[in-house]
Amino acid sequence: MKSGLIKLAVLEFKLFTRNFLSMFFLLVFPSLMLLLFGGIYGNEPEPIFGGYGTVDVSVPAYAGIIVSVTGLMSLPLAVCEYREKKILKRFQATPLSPAYVIISQVSVNLLMTIAGMLLLFLTGKIVFNMRFMGSVLPVTAVFLLSLLSVFSMGFLIAGLAPSMRAATAIANLVFFPMLFLTGATIPIELMPELMRNIARFFPVTHVVKAMKAVWLGESISSVYSSLLVLGGVMLPCFFLSLRLFRWE
């Protein structure tokens, strides 16, 4: 049984690494973007970024991409696939509860999100000698809250979608605005007033805002409103997705 749990987790990890799209958007795309924009603009202090360099502010902003890839795409699609293919039901007929299949999915996605963030951090550090003004504890805390908040949205997608196809459609519909309209890829500082006001309604905007703040050494209390939004999204999403959850 115990070896079964480990085998299951290892297998889920292997399956994740075989998913080209997830791997690309999680591990390659953010670093590629950083190399591209860092290559163009360098990492010299810019007044529009409050005296920080492009790379300094991009790395925490790209955390928004990374948590969205796993939370909004990889996780809900995997859960829907497993339900639609009756894999969860198949595990009900073994000594291993299908709850462990979900748990190992979440764990693998969590780990891979952290790996994606570390890789991006290293790219910034090694290639651009990026400055990191924050302290580890608040950055980790904000990152984990962001993760849980976005994952809860993913679970809600999985719960709402009647089928794998619907889940793919919903996930794309949520993922791409979160990618481009939240400051995760295109800096929010470059957007006009109207766009910034729209962006406030996307939870990932608050991931980006909070991550940037604590990354650049501001206190965690300076972004309490963003943290409240993330928490406020997370609780109802988890509650609803638990109610909507079905094994088959």
Binding site: K7, L8, N19, K85, K86, I87, A93, P95
Partner: protein, 313 residues
């Protein structure tokens, strides 16, 4: 020995009664078939025995254990193939086998099972690259990995070509020889006739007939169909023969329906005695397929639309 005892099992989905007071036994080392039209309650019945679904009322025992309350104990003793389960596309055959082996205390060697199923050269292949038949075989391998005493196979050969289906049937017979008890859910009558020792016919949540294939077929008292080509204009004499129920003629093909072997003998004797030349003689005794068709025909004729709302699920 009795492997499975089902006593007055009832399954309800909200107001719908999917399984209505069903009772039967499955004995050791037999292949027991559950057949019936779609929505007859076959899968619901089997899922209760597998411990995947809770009975509304009635009792189910598998090897003396309650599959709902003692499922953990039972899952080591039973192998399950669910109706149309798929697996992750990018999982390799050996990885699934390895995972399933790690879930059981005394698993079978999956290498041997893959070899029996002719899948050993597919060990490293992605499941997505397997053909329909190979996927079904993999499902059986996974069902056999626990070293089970009893195996449940639901719609085993749906979507397989005739050759692969026959391979499956041979395999089931081999498995029974190795001491397994098999419960087979199917809506293919030829499959059930080919492998099952006993069969239960379900319709709208109830078992309407149960026994060996012969017993079940005979219990419906269906007609034997004799057909032949002959230039015979007046069929009135044939209608009067022993056992003959009806005679129909379409151009030179004459179809005679009647009961029992004496009807066949009487028709042949008549043709012989009257020196009537005939060809393409075919005698089709009633089979499970005919039973099945008569069942669905009966429903349509007798109850019409009112039958549609009846407890299906």
């Amino acid at each position: 020995m009795c492997m499975i005892t089902v006593n007055s099992l009832t399954v309800k989905y909200k107001d719908l009664c999917a399984v209505d007071n069903v009772s039967f036994n499955v004995y050791e080392q037999e292949i027991f078939g559950i057949v019936g039209p779609n929505g007859a309650g076959k899968t619901s019945t089997v899922e209760c025995i597998e411990g995947l679904r809770r009975a509304y009322s009635g009792t189910v025992k598998v090897m003396g254990l309650d599959p709902w309350k003692e499922r953990q104990k039972l899952y080591g003793l039973m192998g399950v193939q669910l109706q149309d389960t798929a697996y992750q596309d990018r999982v390799r055959v050996w990885e699934l086998c390895d995972l399933f082996s790690s879930l059981y205390r005394d698993p079978a060697l999956y290498d041997e099972l893959l070899e029996i199923m002719n899948l050993n050269d597919k060990k490293g292949a992605y499941v997505a690259s397997l053909s329909g038949g190979q996927k079904q075989k993999l499902s059986i391998v996974l069902a056999l990995i626990p070293n089970p005493r009893v195996v449940f196979l639901d719609e085993l050969t749906t979507g397989l070509d005739p050759h692969a289906r026959r391979q499956m049937w041979d395999l089931l017979l081999q498995l029974r020889e190795r001491g397994l008890t098999i419960v087979l859910v199917s809506h293919y009558m030829d499959e059930v006739e080919a492998v099952c020792d006993r069969v239960a016919i379900m319709d709208r949540g109830r078992i309407i007939s149960m026994g060996s294939i012969n017993e079940v077929v005979n219990s419906f008292n269906l007609k034997t169909e004799i057909s032949f080509s002959a230039s015979l204009h007046d069929t009135g004499d044939i209608e009067g023969l022993t056992g003959v129920v009806s005679v129909a003629r379409k151009r030179d093909v004459i179809k005679v329906c009647g009961h029992g072997d004496e009807c066949v003998a009487a028709v042949l004797k008549y043709l012989h005695d009257n020196r009537i030349a005939y060809s393409n003689l075919a005698v089709k005794p009633p089979d499970l397929e005919a039973v099945f068709l008569s069942l669905t025909g009966y429903t349509l004729a007798e109850e019409g639309d009112s039958a549609k709302g009846g407890g299906r699920g």
